[in-house]
Symmetry: C2
């Protein structure tokens, strides 16, 4: 395997040597945020949207100092070039730093990593199946590193013959660990939960497509029963049809018409 | 500052060089657990209780492989000797390891660190003050590294002129981020919340003291209004009198009689 470069606090370092001290507040107290985007043919996709969210996460979590937008972009482009990896997933992680008392915030550590990623259209046709679970992400508008529940629930997902978990808070639908959730209601409305979820970039794009009239509103677990279509959105999945929830088929069990249209539109935007 | 040793996966390494790769699942997904105990005059205090809880955390979180109890104790004693640090706090952290896909569990990383710690009796007299906040720790019986909320709430605590936060779940008292909570009710009962809290070792000791009749039960936020005394327990604080909650004095604003008796008993046990 190629030993690519990562960036730690502005320094380019081979992955095999890319380390942080174990006093880092992410290891000590799970305190950190990140953002993740893809590059296609060397160009980061929806970069400004991701950086908007990134700086929002950083600000809410009081992480500092952080390179400004211009510096950060330079680093990202330099990394793509150095790794010679035009098609990739790029993650910028910021931790609470090397805390002297293992609790209070110190100077942030800023880590940028890159891995090969090429979207496979076959995944769209295959679709996905979900199992629901009561859970509310903490600090939901911040893209924190807290995926404790998601990793913990992996055996539960398998036992239920599902591919991923869909969280709800006492019957109010929320999101998947790494994706937003949409459904097409019995009245043909495209809806996604409006509160206590991460504001995904692909979710935001879909909500901005005037011609589809998608809206963020309260979506209930019980709305799944009458949904005509359902899908999840994320940076790696774009629009992924949800073909079953809790073992029950959604629609005719195939990617729906509106889901397909939304996918095509987002895919085209992404490919530039 | 002395560059003491830590242990990473059985290897003794100077703190200045004690690192993990940034692919570690604690950094990527906040996935890890720990336990923490003190040593007094070279002897770990309540070690078996801590190791019981440690292996329970490890098991629930499916972390493996982990040294067995005998090996782990040997490492701990060796560390105390090597660092020549008889009075200390010792932390054993286990993370989800170097996950190839940044999501699934890999071989666990086991980190043992030691820092000077000597209990200061003056802290008992000084006591502490708390501010309450709605929050429920996830996987509450596991001592996870998730202190996102605790670190995030530091400014909130300061603004409220408090020393720490006391969590409640819709009015049901829970715990502080790093301590269990007890109060002496208007009927002179020593009570501590029974559900959805970490099972602290000092909490367990107090519940085991037959002569005090302390019990784990439902404790409400509203019970604070009529409490005669209140205190928190932890490995570093032993028994720490709570003299005010939300700016309102508890009892006469001084360490109470029962609180003092419990402290003396636990302190004596700890000192051997």
């Amino acid at each position: 395997m190629t030993d690519n470069y990562s960036i730690i606090n502005g320094q380019f370092i081979k992955n095999s040597e890319a380390t942080v001290l174990i006093s880092d507040l992410a290891l000590q107290r799970g305190y950190g945020i990140f953002d993740f985007f893809v590059s296609v043919k060397g160009k980061p996709v929806f970069l400004e949207d991701h950086l908007d969210r990134f700086y929002n996460s950083v600000s809410i979590m009081r992480l500092a100092p952080i390179p400004d937008r211009g510096e950060l972009k330079k680093l990202v482009y330099k990394l793509i070039e150095l790794n010679n990896m035009p098609d990739s997933g790029i993650r910028i992680t910021v931790t609470g730093g090397y805390s002297p008392d293992g609790y209070g915030l110190a100077a942030a550590n800023v880590l940028i990593t890159q891995n090969v990623f090429v979207y496979d259209r076959a995944s769209f046709t295959k679709g996905t199946s979900l199992v629901t679970q009561h859970y509310q992400r903490q600090l939901s508008q911040v893209k924190t590193i807290d995926y404790l529940q998601a990793v913990y629930l992996q055996p539960f997902i398998k036992e239920n013959n599902a591919d991923d978990v869909l969280y709800h808070n006492n019957g109010e639908l929320r999101e998947c660990p790494r994706a937003n959730f949409f459904l097409i209601s019995k009245d043909n409305e495209i809806v996604t939960p409006d509160s206590d979820v991460l504001w995904g970039v692909n979710r935001k794009k879909i909500l901005s497509f005037g011609e589809f009239g998608a809206k963020a509103t309260s979506v209930k677990l019980s709305d799944v029963e009458t949904a005509k279509e359902a899908f999840i959105t994320s940076t790696t999945k774009i629009v992924l049809p949800v073909l079953a929830i809790n073992g029950k088929r959604i629609g005719n069990g195939k990617p729906g018409e509106l889901t397909t249209k939304l996918f095509e539109k987002l895919y085209a935007l992404r490919m530039g």
